[in-house]
Amino acid sequence: MSGDDIVTLSRLQFGMTALYHFLFVPLTLGMTFILAIMESVYVMTGKEVYKDMTRYWGKLFGINFAMGVTTGLTLEFQFGTNWAYYSHYVGDIFGPILASEGWMAFFLESTFVGLFFFGWDKLTKVQHLTVTWLLALGTSLSALWILIANGWMQHPVGAEFNYETLRMEMTSFADIFFNPVAQVKFVHTVAAGYVTGSMFVLGISSWYLLNGRDIGFARRSFSIASAFGLASILSVIVLGDESGYTSGETQKVKLAAIEAEWETEEAPASFTLVGLPNQEAERTDYAVKFPWLLGLIATRSVDEPVKGLKELRADNVKRIRRGMLAYDELLKLRAGDKTPETRQAFDAYKEDLGYGLLLKKYTSRVVDADEGMIEKASNDSLPKVAPLFWTFRIMVASGFTMLFIFGMAFYYCATRIADQKRWLMRMAVWAIPLPWIAAETGWFVAEYGRQPWTISGILPTHLSVSNLTGGQLWFSLAGFLIFYTVLLVIELYLMIKYVKLGPSSLHTGRYCHEAKGVPSHAN
């Protein structure tokens, strides 16, 4: 098995396990907040139905949370098992970030989640409400810290390469924390989580209303979800636009690929609504363009041009050449020549060291690369356009569809005629998968769009992997495939079972199934 295959399998495994983990994370992010809102209403009004809502939706949250915990472990293991050289390269940067995530977030959510479920009779109302809010805070904080780590991979600030330890080292924790890419990413992602929770509650409540059961319970859940969902989807879209702007600043390649913008367009650049990207011919067939829009999104101006892929690749050729010089100086340093001249020369080029490392795929010595290799490496420096172009459009379309649903739901709730709008409720049921589609495609755009890098401009993906054999990777892939399939089937089975049972699963004697005297065997 060749090195390329190891890289491909490792990427496949990481992508698969991360996307799978991300089926559960957004729902956890959203549900904890919705639970906290419902319980706040309970504590303020004293109405039992809001307590039942907190407990019932809490049950569904619990089924989902267990899977989030299970699959989150994988990611922590996987940086070390499959991406050893990446771990060596970034460990110093991730130090304070992981320390913060562990102490501030993981302990908070995991310690209080048990009390959320088992503390109802042991705590006062206000104490329990505090526990629920701390749980919600913990989940969102853990998203904050991991996205700061991810933001650094997209836009590595506050760090520099140390030739003695051969890795990136932190120069400023504040720069890493206030990294604009990370901040925007955080709000965009947690808000997407809140949308997921809202769509879930909205869709299932609609289903109860359509079936004419548990009306009071479902109507109240519906209105909380519609209000929270509308606020959240608006933040997702506004912040999504904001991440278009920041990636225009720092990740021009990703933006150009999402837009299939091959040539640099004159300002203000137009936005390609839809078309067929053609990688070979480097053009977009049948493109439908919307004037000015891209220039506005990416530069917030009408007079700055947005660079196209061909020009970006030409820039990268220059950077690769400088990267070769940097690598040459690094070899001297490593051989023991630490004179001020060598160090100065290295410092002059080291920003582009990562581009030199792109050549490692073709020659391990880097400095002896010929023109053909440089051209190949420059082609590698651009991601494939079509997958990004399409996933981005699916994400945006899902987002705007949800904006419409939440907008309508909120409007009709405010005018108190929501349960007469059966078309809307039917639409809400069918829209339940949308936030997941948007979240998964969004993850893809962010991570695939960063290729060929694990750390943008610093460390190429093909150098980041562990020194593994094909057998080891097939073993783990098979293991994940089996465990994850079985677990997903069980999770969905339980989820559907409890959705069907509805609030009767609380055994309060107040809900559908129970009133008719149908005995329930579930707990």
């Binding site: 899977m67 472990l73 050289y85 992981l98 102490w103 302990f107 995991s110 009390l115």
Partner: protein
């Protein structure tokens, strides 16, 4: 504030503390998983057992997550080398851990004997396999692992999964699972009444002597049969982290003389044995359950300290290329990173301990069949 050498030592202590906290808390969670199918005969007895840790196992598991994260952050080279080198073993630990969250959370959600029995065995695997594998891992840390670093400091593993399963490491694996089961039985006895408590007591009476015998055997074996390498020259304790800047000889004077050089280190194995002995003596009778559990906690602390002291200053010993061995002086993060992570820890660790203590106080009390029946639709 602290110089590089001091902060490196402080973090060695901190990571030790996290490892100990993990062994103490998730230790009894694991043990309860192992005991579950044997100590619980009926469904309701098993629910009693599971619910002794039901509200807290998730918080306990964070110590494991934190341990992994701290090694990644503070000793990146160790994280990279260990996790990629022991690929199959790490995957097995991970797969075994998969059984736990779903096992706890899904088991009692459906009233069907086959469903519940299956999850009980899942919890058994999830509680038994990880301590065995982690014990095997510790055994191999003492023997040394076959790995080297290349010129780019890329870790290359030179052995296989089967090589890990040597007799000494397997003995350590047995110790691992005995330790968690013994510790778990003491916890269970403390939190239950009646038949379950009685069976936990029987387990304690049986496991204590076996555990202490295996521990003594491992110590003897280590001293008689296993080499301890020695650093003969290195760049300095405050030098930039590059493990290749040192010379290590594979055949040092040995483990016993390492302890003799630092006689205070003998405190650790003494603590391990006296803790376990007291826990056994108190636990097999009807003396205070709490005291017995505290003594076994002392024993766990002593056992882990013994391993840490024995390896010091090594973190990972290489047997194929001793110079590539990783030590706390040359495999750490930068001075700045360690300082910032230090302050974050110093601020937040006490807060975490405070609210964890509060949560335990709220949920504390013996779990009985009556507890389960009262809250049948809420509890695990």
């Amino acid at each position: 504030m602290f110089d590089y050498e001091t902060i490196r030592l402080i973090w060695w202590v901190f990571i030790g503390v996290v490892a100990i906290a993990f062994a103490l808390t998730e230790g009894f969670d694991f043990g309860i998983g192992t005991l579950l199918p044997f100590v619980g005969k009926t469904d309701i007895e098993r629910r009693v057992i599971i619910n002794t840790v039901g509200a807290t196992w998730e918080g306990n598991q964070v110590w494991l997550v934190l341990l992994g994260g701290a090694i990644f952050a503070i000793w990146p080279a160790v994280y990279a080398t260990l996790f990629s080198g022991l690929y199959i073993a790490m995957m097995l630990v991970l797969f075994a851990l998969f059984f736990r969250p779903a096992g706890f959370d899904y088991r009692s959600k459906i009233e069907d004997q086959r469903w519940r029995d299956t999850w009980d065995w899942c919890l058994f695997i999830g509680g038994t396999l990880p301590p065995i594998l982690l014990g095997v891992l510790i055994g191999n840390l003492l023997i040394g692992l076959p790995f080297h670093l290349d010129q780019d400091l890329r870790p290359m593993y030179d052995g296989s999964f089967w090589g890990l399963l040597n007799p000494f490491a397997l003995l350590c694996g047995v110790i691992g699972v005995l330790l968690t089961t013994f510790h778990g039985a003491l916890f269970l006895k403390w939190r239950t009444r009646g038949d379950v408590r009685d069976r936990a007591r029987q387990a304690i009476a049986f496991l204590g002597p076996v555990l202490m015998f295996c521990m003594a055997l491992a110590i003897l074996w280590l001293n008689l049969d296993i080499e301890r390498p020695e650093i003969t020259s290195m760049a300095g304790r405050a030098a930039a982290s590059n493990p290749l800047n040192k010379v290590v000889t594979a055949h040092g004077p040995g483990w016993f003389s390492h302890f003799l050089k630092n006689p205070w280190m003998f405190g650790a194995p003494i603590m391990a044995f006296s803790g376990m002995l007291m826990a056994w003596l108190l636990g097999k009778g009807s003396a205070s359950d709490r005291d017995a559990f505290l003594f076994s906690s002392l024993g766990v602390v002593g056992a882990l300290l013994s391993v840490g002291f024995a390896l010091f200053p090594f973190l990972l010993i290489s047997i194929t290329d001793p110079n590539s061995s990783l030590t706390l002086w040359d495999a750490s993060s930068s001075h700045k990173t360690m300082l910032i992570a230090f302050w974050i820890t110093v601020i937040f660790l006490p807060i975490v301990l405070l609210y964890t203590r509060w949560v335990y106080k709220i949920i504390w009390g013996r779990i009985t069949e009556k507890t389960i029946l009262q809250d049948s639709h809420t509890l695990y």
